[in-house]
Each structure stands twice: as C-alpha cells, then as structure tokens.
C-alpha cells in the first residue's frame, strides 16, 4: 500500500464511529487505561509546575516542609487547587491533559500491539509529534502571556500582552486542537487508514 497523503483531517461521516470503536477496543484493557491516567497526570503536573517552577523547586522538592505539607502545596498548584485559576483556562488545561493521556494510551497500544516505530512516518510518528507539540502548547499556555510579552517587547511593543483576553486560553485552544488531531491520526493509523499508511497492515 502506498501512502495516499501524509495526514488527513477527520471529515468523513464514519470518522467519529472509527474513533469511538478504537477507543473502546484500546481502553478495554486496564494497562492502557493506566497509561492514559499516568500520562494525563504527568501532563497536568508539567503544566502546573511550568506556571510556578520556583514554588515547586523551593517548597515541594526542596525546603524544610514535612511531606504532608509538600503534598498540600503540590495539590494547590493544580487547576482548581489553591492558585486561583480562572474557570476557562482551568477547564481547558484539564481537558488538554485528558486528551494527552488518551493519546499516550493509544500510542502505547500502537507501539506494543502493532509494533509501530517512531521514525517510519507511521501513526506513531504523527501521534508522538502531535502529543509533544500539544504538551509544549499546554506549557506555553500557562506562561503564554509572559512569552508573548517577551516576544512583543523584542518588537518594541510592551504592555500589549496584558490586554489579551482569556488569560492565555487562546494559546491553550490550538494545543487542544493539535492534541485531538494527533489522537485521530493515531486512531486512523491503527485502522490502517491512508493518513498513516501501513499501520494496520504491518500488524
């Protein structure tokens, strides 16, 4: 089978059913549920730490607090914890972490059950790239305003970033789309679809 195109977007009527069927098949196995949960938690932790790295290093990892207090501080760093996340960004961040977890579970299934390699341009490659970019997007979203402020200041424009709406949510939304697409590409590859070539045929 030759590659019809490098990637495709979910436009067909049956794409939704394909995703649902694949998710049911993969997540019927507890091992992949565990991978997804651990992946989502790791993503959420990365985002939380990226927002307050000094707090994490000085009080959770270092410092003199007892273990219970360290865990209290860590728990407060997550969305809906004790750091006053706005509702929109908090929901978007949790959703993003969940999608990243789902993608990682699919990726684990693809690698373990189908023997996909990351470098062959198959679904593993597309999905891994998407997951990585999505993770970066999540991290950028929480500190996006400062990054944007830095970029704008390089262009001689300061103070504009604070006027941007949604507290960095605009940077999280593209990450959500990217991670969702990477999940679809993984599913499509597992099904042996044209976007990801021979994933199914290689099994």
């Amino acid at each position: 089978m030759s590659l019809a195109s490098p990637v495709r977007l979910p436009r067909r009527r049956g794409d939704g059913r394909l995703v649902a069927r694949t998710l049911r098949r993969v997540y019927a196995r507890p091992a992949y549920v565990a991978v997804a949960l651990v992946g989502a938690w790791a993503c959420l932790t990365a985002v939380a730490v990226a927002r307050n790295p000094e707090l994490f290093v000085r009080l959770v990892v270092g410092g003199r607090l007892p273990l219970e207090d360290r865990l209290t501080v860590l728990a407060a760093m997550y969305p809906f914890g004790g750091l006053g996340y706005e509702l929109g960004p908090a929901l978007a961040t949790v959703t993003l972490a969940g999608l990243v977890g789902v993608d990682l579970g699919l990726l684990a299934f693809a690698v373990r059950e189908r023997g996909l390699s990351f470098g062959a341009g198959a679904s593993g490659s597309a999905g891994l790239t998407g997951a990585l970019l999505g993770g970066l997007g999540a991290g950028c979203a929480v500190c996006g305003t400062s990054l944007l402020a830095g970029a704008l200041s390089l262009a001689g424009i300061t103070g504009v970033a604070v006027a941007l709406p949604f507290d960095g949510l605009l940077l999280t939304l593209p990450a959500l789309v990217l991670v969702a697409l990477s999940g679809f590409w993984l599913v499509d590859g597992l099904d042996g679809g044209p976007s990801c070539g021979r994933a199914g045929a290689d099994a």
């Binding site: 707090l55 000085r58 410092g63 407060a76 914890g81 004790g82 750091l83 006053g84």
Partner: protein
C-alpha cells in the same frame, strides 16, 4: 487621556516595569514569601489562605 498623551506618568510606569522585570515578575498577582527574614519562594497567581499558611508554616 490627556495625561497619557502628554506622557506625564511615563517615567513612573517605565520604572515600575523595570522593577517588575528585575524582580522576575511575569504577571499579577505575584507574591514573594518570607519567613523569619528569610526568602522562601515566589508564587504566581492568587494563592489561597491554606496555601500561604502551609508555605509559611503558620
């Protein structure tokens, strides 16, 4: 608007921006915690009372 156009407070605003930059402040609110005269950490965001109390050990 007249004050803005005249740049009456431009120097003060620039000084505030420089101070924030030098202190590593990326947004508001930002808290700097000290306990017993020792610097503990910086918190970006709006910490709850429980978080502040736990961090400060009070």
């Amino acid at each position: 608007m007249g004050d803005v156009k005249a740049g009456r407070y431009a120097a003060a605003v620039d000084a505030d921006e420089t101070a924030a930059h030098d202190a590593g402040v990326r947004g508001t609110p930002t808290f700097f915690l000290f306990a017993g005269g020792d610097y503990l950490t910086k918190i970006e965001g709006a910490p709850s009372y429980d978080l502040l109390a736990t961090a400060l050990g009070v």
